[in-house]
């Protein structure tokens, strides 16, 4: 059974999903220079949806892996 650990900041419980969402956002922004070098925007007809899908994929991977 996969257990989600809560982040506790000074007696304040932060939902695990918030931690995953923020971590996924940080990874996504760290990947952006690499995406630019790969010409990510030119690979898709709608780069905005492609970027959103990438973010969701990272978030899903983090949730499954940790």
């Amino acid at each position: 059974m996969h257990s989600f650990s809560e982040l506790v900041v000074g007696d304040v419980f932060v939902a695990p999903f918030v931690v995953y969402a923020v971590a996924a956002l940080a990874i996504f922004f760290a990947l952006r220079p690499i995406l630019r070098l790969c010409g990510f925007d030119k690979l898709f007809s709608n780069p905005a949806v492609a970027q959103l899908s990438l973010y969701v994929a990272i978030l899903g991977l983090l949730t499954v892996a940790f």
Binding site: V12, R32, R36, D41, P47, A48, V49, Q51, L52
Partner: protein, 625 residues
């Protein structure tokens, strides 16, 4: 005979399809934000919907950038609220005074920034009102209230980001590229040899510089739009800076033509007669080609050849005055509510702070308060119709979503209209409707609380309007004198070689941004004179910086003594000496040296521009004094 018909642009009820698409996107985002907030059982679901209304920007990049600053500013505001409540919760009057000082400080900071940075500054101010002041009687709930607001804002931000991505909201850069291209055409038209009187010429140049500098916030928001956003931002920055340099080059060319032969109005003929004219024409063409390269890089998403920054100019005196005025207005409003002793007046006070904050980042704060004063009763009628006539006790979410559609879409279509008052009313109406309706799960449909909120909203804005009338803003003349004092101070720094932080083109952009902030319609004689004087300083400072940059290349050569002499001549604005150095340079280096020819041309051009600018400034100075 053949006739050509121009197809009429597609429109529905007087608005283009893009405006309707924008309205639909915002409606979907409001519904998604409310659905997520209800599902997550957030304490302040209305804040999520209001967040979407505030982040309602037609382009994807603009909304994302604003969202980023909204999140950061909420964190700062909540922290400030907790600190203020922790220190002053036992002394209500002192707490209100500190709150007014904090809002004043934030408005002052907004005056020193632009675009979404300024918005973040005022948001940090009025977040304290929404958290600390609304919990004035229950300070122990400040932390929970802050968390609830933060969560609702995060949901609102996520809703608008996802909806904009999925419903293909347009990118900012094509629109920005077309705006820059339109400015490029205007700069080329300005550079054409057309006879204008000095006042018209100053008005046209100042208008161009103002419009170029006004694009700075939009350019800054390009970075968040896509993976190549930061490169496009660099390209757009370079294009804007090159446009300002092109305006200066066009003015220099005009000065040279006027100096070589005042009767002659043909620049090509002039360039054949004078090496300075030839050099000025070449410079003008070089700047125009830099603009073209920047535009091509922006459209293609390539890094530009020249990477320039866009330094911001803001008058500290004007910002401080705006901050003091905001604090004074808030003190007056707080004093009124304390003396009146009304229950729940803190809601009204927090709305006053909100309108002060949003007004501070609008181009016309007084006009914004008037628009809010008109929008509040309209929004009250619309929200009442929605709550008590259309919904009237409904508890199903799909019906709420459907009922919101005409109000949200209509308000957003109005917000895209070109008339500034209609646009402000549209935007404010959506925010006020959501604040008054305050969707919750389950909806209370309490007529008593509806009337209280409407009363507080209208009283608060009415009171603010009265306070702003009692404490009028500084006159245009005063603001002009503050900006002109800063122009003169900076020019002294240019002469004393203490402004070496920026490249000449970047410094030109900063000067252009300052000219853009001079409050002048150009209609009165005084306004024209102030603009002419500011442009005279702009031309001289640019010529001196470019001249210095040019002679710096001689520093390590055998002609370094001439470089030092040219530096001195530039510092004292001794134009005759500059011409002598220019001739000496050509004489010593010989006719074959391209570098010497180039620097000699630059120095002669600087001398002509300085003379022309002094000549233009002298009648202007008399008019201003």
């Amino acid at each position: 005979m053949t006739t050509a018909t121009i197809p009429r642009p597609l429109s529905f009820a007087g608005a283009p399809p893009s405006a309707w698409a924008f309205g639909v996107r915002i409606w979907v985002a409001v519904v998604a934000a409310l659905a997520a907030s209800f599902w997550l059982e957030l304490e302040a679901p209305a804040s999520a919907a209001v967040t979407v209304a505030i982040l309602a920007v037609p382009t994807r990049g603009g909304a994302l950038d604003k969202a980023r600053f909204r999140l950061a500013a909420t964190i700062i505001g909540v922290t400030a609220a907790i600190v203020i409540v922790a220190l002053f919760s036992q002394t209500r009057d002192l707490m209100l005074a500190v709150f007014a000082a904090w809002v004043g400080l934030c408005v002052c900071a907004a005056g020193l920034l632009d675009g979404n940075h300024a918005y973040a500054a005022v948001l940090s101010g009025y977040t304290v009102a929404l958290i600390a002041i609304q919990q004035l009687d229950a300070p122990e709930h400040v932390f929970e209230s802050g968390m609830a607001r933060g969560a609702a804002i995060a949901v609102g931000v996520a809703a608008i980001a996802v909806v904009n991505d999925l419903l293909a909201a347009p990118d900012s850069f094509p629109q920005l590229a077309s705006q820059l291209a339109a400015l490029h055409r205007r700069v080329r038209d300005y550079a054409k040899p057309v006879l204008r009187d000095e006042a018209t010429d100053a008005g046209t140049a100042a208008g161009l510089l103002r419009d170029i500098a006004a694009l700075r916030p939009e350019i800054a928001s390009l970075a968040t739009e896509s993976a190549s956003g930061s490169i496009r931002r660099a390209a757009a920055r370079s294009t804007a800076v090159a446009l300002v340099a092109a305006v200066h080059a066009a003015r220099a060319l005009k000065a040279v033509v006027a100096a070589t032969n005042p009767a002659m109005d043909d620049m090509i003929a002039a360039s054949a007669h004078s090496p300075a004219s030839a050099w000025a024409s070449r410079e003008s063409l070089r700047r125009i080609s830099e603009v073209r390269e920047g535009l091509a890089a922006l459209n293609a998403g390539h890094r530009p050849l020249c990477v320039w920054r866009m330094p911001l100019y803001r008058s500290r005196a004007i910002a401080a005055a705006a901050g003091l005025r905001a604090a004074a207005c808030l003190v007056l409003a707080s004093g009124f509510f304390v003396l009146a002793g009304w229950p729940s007046a803190e809601v009204s006070l927090s709305l006053v702070a909100l309108v002060i904050g949003l007004g501070a980042v609008s181009p016309n704060p007084q006009g914004f308060t008037v628009a809010a004063f008109i929008a509040a009763p309209i929004a009250a009628v619309l929200a009442g119709t929605l709550e008590f006539l259309i919904l009237d006790g409904v508890t199903e979410f799909p019906l709420l979503a459907l009922a919101l559609a005409p109000f949200v879409i209509g308000a957003m279509v109005a917000a895209t209209r070109p008339h500034p008052m209609v646009a402000s009313l549209g935007r404010l109406n959506l925010i006020f409707i959501l604040v008054i309706l305050s969707p919750s799960n389950p909806q209370s449909y309490n007529a008593n609380s509806f009337l209280f909120v409407v009363l507080f909203l209208c009283t608060g804005i009415g009171l603010l309007l009265a306070a702003e009338t009692l404490i009028p803003p500084e006159s245009n003349e005063r603001r002009q004198s503050w900006i002109m004092a800063s122009v003169r101070r900076d020019f002294e720094l240019v002469l004393s070689k203490r402004d070496r932080r920026l490249a000449p083109e970047e410094a030109m952009f900063r000067d252009a941004a300052r000219i853009g902030q001079i409050p002048a319609s150009g209609a009165s004689h005084r306004d024209s004179a102030v603009l002419a004087q500011a442009l005279s300083y702009f031309d001289r400072a640019a010529a001196i910086r470019l001249g210095r940059d040019s002679v710096a290349r001689l520093a390590e050569t055998s002609l370094s003594h001439l470089a030092a002499e040219a530096e001195e001549a530039l510092a004292t604005q001794d134009t005759q000496r500059l011409r002598d150095v220019s001739l000496a340079l050509m004489h010593v280096a010989g006719a074959g040296s391209a570098l010497a020819e180039e620097i000699s041309g630059e120095l002669t051009l600087a001398a002509i521009v300085i003379d022309a600018a002094r000549h233009a400034a002298s009648p202007a100075m008399e008019a201003v004094s």
